[in-house]
C-alpha cells in the first residue's frame, strides 16, 4: 500500500502526566498527509490519551501535563502563543460515544461554521450543511428533517452526524476515538466505508479497540502498550509479520 510521504504531524518524546502518574512515556511519531493511522493496544495503554494530545483536548483535564514536542505542519502545537481554539478547528475530533448537541440536525452542523464565521449568508451556511452531510453520507437520510433534533437519530446516524459536524469546520486532520465502539456491525461498516472515502481529503488518526477494524481501514498502525509505543508501521506488515514479540502476542490474541 502506497503511503503519502508529506509530513503532517510530528511528535517527539511526548510524555503525559496525570498528577504524578506518567501515562505516556516518551512517544515519537510521524503522521503523514492523507493517511489513516490506527492506534491499537489493550485498555489503559494510553492510546486515547495520546490521541487527545494531538488536538490539546487534554488541556480541559485538571492536573494533566504534557511535555515534549508536537508539531502540525512544522508549527509547535503547544507554543503558548498559539490559539488553541483555532487549532481545534484545524484538527477535528470524533468521540467514542456519539454526542450530538440537543439541537436540530441543521444546528448541529451549523454550530462550528457559525462559531468561526465561515458563512456570511444563510445560503452559504445551507451549502456547508448540505456538503458536510453529503460527505458524511447522511444527506439522503436526513435532508427532509433537518429541523428535527439530532438526538432523535439512530446511533450510527448520530455518529455520522458528529463526523459531518467535524467536517463542517473544514479541518485538516480528523481524530477519531473509537468511533464505532458504541455501534452495531452494520453502522460500523458504514462508518468504515466513510473513513475510506474521507481519506482523500483529510488525514485521519483513529483509536480502535478492534484489531480487525484497524486491519480493514488503516494504512499504518501503531501498537501501544503500558504508555509506550511498541511498534509503528504499515498495517499489512504489522498484521502479517510484526517486528516485536509483544505486538505479535497482542495481535494473535495472547493477551489484551
Amino acid at each position: 500500500m502506497k503511503t503519502n510521504s508529506t509530513l503532517k504531524m510530528k511528535a517527539e518524546n511526548v510524555r503525559v502526566f496525570y498528577g504524578a502518574n506518567e501515562a505516556i512515556k516518551g512517544i515519537d511519531m510521524n503522521v503523514y498527509q492523507n493517511e489513516v493511522l490506527a492506534f491499537i493496544g489493550p485498555s489503559g495503554c494510553g492510546k486515547s490519551t495520546f490521541l487527545r494530545c494531538l488536538n490539546r483536548m487534554n488541556d480541559t483535564i485538571d492536573q494533566c501535563r504534557v511535555t515534549g514536542l508536537i508539531e502540525l505542519d512544522g508549527q509547535d502545537m503547544y507554543d503558548p502563543r498559539l490559539d488553541v481554539v483555532q487549532l481545534r478547528a484545524q484538527i477535528g475530533m470524533v468521540f467514542q460515544k456519539p454526542n450530538p448537541f440537543p439541537k436540530s440536525i441543521y444546528d448541529n452542523i451549523a454550530y462550528g461554521p457559525k462559531l468561526h464565521g465561515l458563512a456570511s449568508k444563510k445560503s452559504e451556511l445551507d451549502d456547508i450543511v448540505e456538503s458536510s452531510l453529503q460527505k458524511a453520507g447522511l444527506w439522503k437520510e436526513v435532508k427532509d428533517r433537518l429541523d428535527q433534533p439530532g438526538t432523535g437519530l439512530s446511533g450510527g446516524q448520530q455518529q455520522r452526524l458528529c463526523i459531518a459536524r467535524t467536517i463542517a469546520v473544514s479541518p485538516e486532520v480528523i481524530l477519531m476515538d473509537e468511533p464505532c465502539s458504541a455501534l452495531d456491525p452494520i453502522a460500523t461498516s458504514i462508518i468504515e466505508e466513510l473513513i475510506d472515502e474521507l481519506k482523500a481529503n483529510y488525514t485521519i488518526v483513529m483509536v480502535t479497540h478492534n484489531m480487525q477494524q484497524a486491519a480493514r481501514v488503516s494504512d499504518r498502525t501503531a501498537f501501544f502498550h503500558m504508555g509506550e509505543m511498541i511498534e509503528i508501521g504499515s498495517t499489512t506488515e504489522m498484521f502479517t509479520k510484526p517486528n516485536n514479540k509483544r505486538t505479535e502476542d497482542y495481535i494473535t490474541g495472547r493477551y489484551g
Binding site: 483536548m57 481554539v85 454526542n99 462550528g112 462559531l115
Partner: protein, 464 residues
C-alpha cells in the same frame, strides 16, 4: 390518667412483653432440639410486644376520636329544646357547659340546667375514660396471651414483622397526603362560606381592597353596604410585582453563581462556596425582613434620592430585592446540579470544534440544561409568591393597584396576616376572606410547582 401517662404505660408494657416473648422463645428453643426456631428470638419478642400494644393503641385512638362526639350528642339530648333549636345559642351553651364541667369559670351566673348538664358531662367523661381503660387492658391482655401462645418454631415472626412494618410505613405516608387533602378541603369549605357573603366575581376581579373591619360580624348591616370591598386584584398585582422584582434579582445572580460553581470553580472552591450560598436559604425570613426594613429600604431610598427617583423606604422594590437575595440559593444550587449533570461528552464535542469555554457554556451547556433551569426558576418563583415575613415588614402594606415598584404595595400573604390577627369574629367575611386568599395562593403555587416538576422530570429522562 392523662394521655401522656397512658402512652408511657403503653411503652413500658411494650418493653415488658418484649422481654417475656424473648424469654419464652429461648425456653421453647431449649426444649426443642430437633426443630429450629424460624426466626431470631427478638423477632418473637417484638411480635408479642406489638400484639399487646398495637390493638390497645388503636382502641385508644378510635375512642379519643369518637368519644367527644358521642358525649356531645348525649349532652345535646339533655339540653332544653329552645337552646337546641338555635345553632348560635347551642354553640355558646356547649362552650359554657364544658367550661363548667372542667371547673373553669364562666361569664355570668350559671343556670340550673347548665349546672345539671355540666355534672352530667363530667360524670360521662369519667365513665368514658374508665371504660376505655378497661377495654384497653382487656385487649392488651388478650393480645399478649395470643402472642405469647403462638410462639413456636413454625411461627414466622420475622415475616410478620416485615408486613407490620410495611403497614406502618403506608400509614405514615398517607398521613402526609391526608393532611394536605384535609387542609385543602377545610380551605375550600371556609372559602365557600366566604363566597356566600361576597360574589366570586367581586373577589377575583374587583380592583379595590378595603375590607372595613366591623366587630358586628354577621349583622344586618354587614350584608349591605357596610362590609367593604374585597377585590383581590391589587393584592395579586402586589404579589406578582414583588415576585417579579425578586426574580429579576435572583435569576441573574443565581444563574451566574451556578455557572461559576459548575464550570469554573475548582473542586475545593465549589465545596466551600456552595454550602455558604446555601446558608442564605437558612436565614430566618424575619431576619431578612428587618434587614430590609432597617438597612436596605433606607439605602434604596437614599440611592433613589441621589438619582432623582422617589423611592419609598418600604416599597415593592425593597421587599423584592431582599426576597431575591433569599431566593438566590434555590436557583443557584438547583441550577448548579443541573448544569453539572450535562454530560461531559457534549462539552468535549463543542470544545473539539474549536469553541471557547464560554461559547460552549452559552451555546451548548445552557441550552441543554435549560429545562432544568426553568424548573429551578419556577420553584424559586413559587417560593417568592408564598413568602410572607419580608413583605409584612418591608412592602409598606398598602393595597393599591400599581405597577410602580417604588411604591408601597401589599400582597396576598400580608393580607392574610392582617385579616386573621386582631380581634375578629371568625364567621365574618373579614376573616373568611383569608381562606379564599389562602386557597388562591395555594392554587398559584401548586400550579407553578407542578409545571416546575414536570419540566424537571422531562429533563431528567433525557440523560438517563
Amino acid at each position: 390518667m392523662s394521655n401522656l401517662t397512658l402512652m408511657i404505660v403503653l411503652l413500658a408494657v411494650l418493653a415488658i412483653t418484649y422481654q417475656l416473648g424473648l424469654v419464652r422463645t429461648r425456653q421453647i428453643a431449649g426444649h426443642n432440639a430437633t426443630l429450629r426456631m424460624h426466626s431470631r428470638p427478638h423477632h418473637y419478642g417484638v411480635m408479642v410486644g406489638l400484639w399487646t400494644v398495637l390493638p390497645a393503641f388503636f382502641i385508644f385512638i378510635i375512642w379519643s376520636w369518637s368519644a367527644p362526639w358521642a358525649l356531645n350528642q348525649l349532652l345535646i339530648a339533655q339540653l332544653p329544646e329552645h337552646i337546641v333549636n338555635d345553632p348560635q345559642e347551642l354553640r355558646v351553651a356547649i362552650r359554657r357547659i364544658s367550661n363548667l364541667a372542667a371547673n373553669f369559670g364562666i361569664v355570668s351566673e350559671a343556670a340550673t340546667w347548665e349546672i345539671q348538664a355540666a355534672t352530667f358531662l363530667s360524670d360521662a367523661r369519667q365513665l368514658s375514660q374508665t371504660l376505655m381503660l378497661a377495654l384497653m387492658t382487656t385487649v392488651a391482655a388478650a393480645g399478649a396471651l395470643y402472642g405469647y401462645r403462638s410462639i413456636s418454631p413454625l411461627y414466622r415472626a420475622r415475616n410478620h414483622i416485615e408486613k407490620i412494618l410495611q403497614i406502618v410505613l403506608v400509614i405514615c405516608s398517607s398521613i402526609a397526603v391526608l393532611t394536605t387533602l384535609g387542609i385543602v378541603l377545610s380551605m375550600v369549605g371556609e372559602s365557600l362560606r366566604f363566597f356566600s357573603f361576597v360574589s366570586p366575581m367581586d373577589f377575583f376581579f374587583g380592583t379595590t381592597w378595603n375590607p372595613r373591619f366591623s366587630t358586628a360580624g354577621v349583622g344586618e348591616g354587614s350584608l349591605t353596604g357596610d362590609q367593604g370591598s374585597f377585590g383581590m386584584l391589587p393584592l395579586l398585582a402586589g404579589t406578582f410585582l414583588i415576585a417579579l422584582v425578586a426574580m429579576s434579582v435572583a435569576i441573574p445572580l443565581g444563574l451566574l453563581a451556578a455557572i461559576y460553581l459548575a464550570e469554573y470553580a475548582s473542586p475545593k472552591m465549589r465545596a466551600t462556596a456552595k454550602p455558604i450560598i446555601e446558608m442564605l436559604a437558612g436565614i430566618p425570613t424575619i431576619v431578612y425582613g428587618f434587614f430590609a426594613l432597617v438597612t436596605v429600604g433606607p439605602f434604596l431610598s437614599m440611592l433613589g434620592a441621589h438619582i432623582g427617583l422617589d423611592i419609598r423606604a418600604t416599597s415593592a422594590l425593597t421587599a423584592g430585592v431582599v426576597m431575591g437575595i433569599m431566593i438566590i440559593p434555590f436557583i443557584s444550587s438547583l441550577s448548579d446540579d443541573i448544569i453539572t449533570q450535562v454530560p461531559k461528552s457534549l462539552r468535549d464535542g463543542s470544545l473539539g470544534l474549536g469553541a471557547t469555554k464560554s461559547e460552549t457554556i452559552r451555546k451548548v451547556v445552557l441550552p441543554a440544561a435549560l429545562p432544568g433551569i426553568v424548573g429551578a426558576i419556577l420553584l424559586g418563583a413559587s417560593r417568592a409568591i408564598g413568602e410572607t415575613m419580608i413583605v409584612v415588614l418591608a412592602a409598606g402594606n398598602s393595597p393599591s393597584l400599581t405597577a410602580n415598584p417604588f411604591e408601597a404595595v401589599s400582597t396576598i400573604t400580608v393580607t392574610i396576616v392582617n385579616q386573621l390577627t386582631g380581634d375578629n369574629d371568625f364567621a365574618s367575611p373579614q376573616s373568611l376572606v383569608a381562606f379564599a386568599l389562602g386557597l388562591t395562593l395555594f392554587a398559584i403555587t401548586l400550579i407553578l410547582n407542578v409545571i416546575a416538576l414536570v419540566i424537571v422530570r422531562k429533563y431528567r429522562e433525557q440523560y438517563e
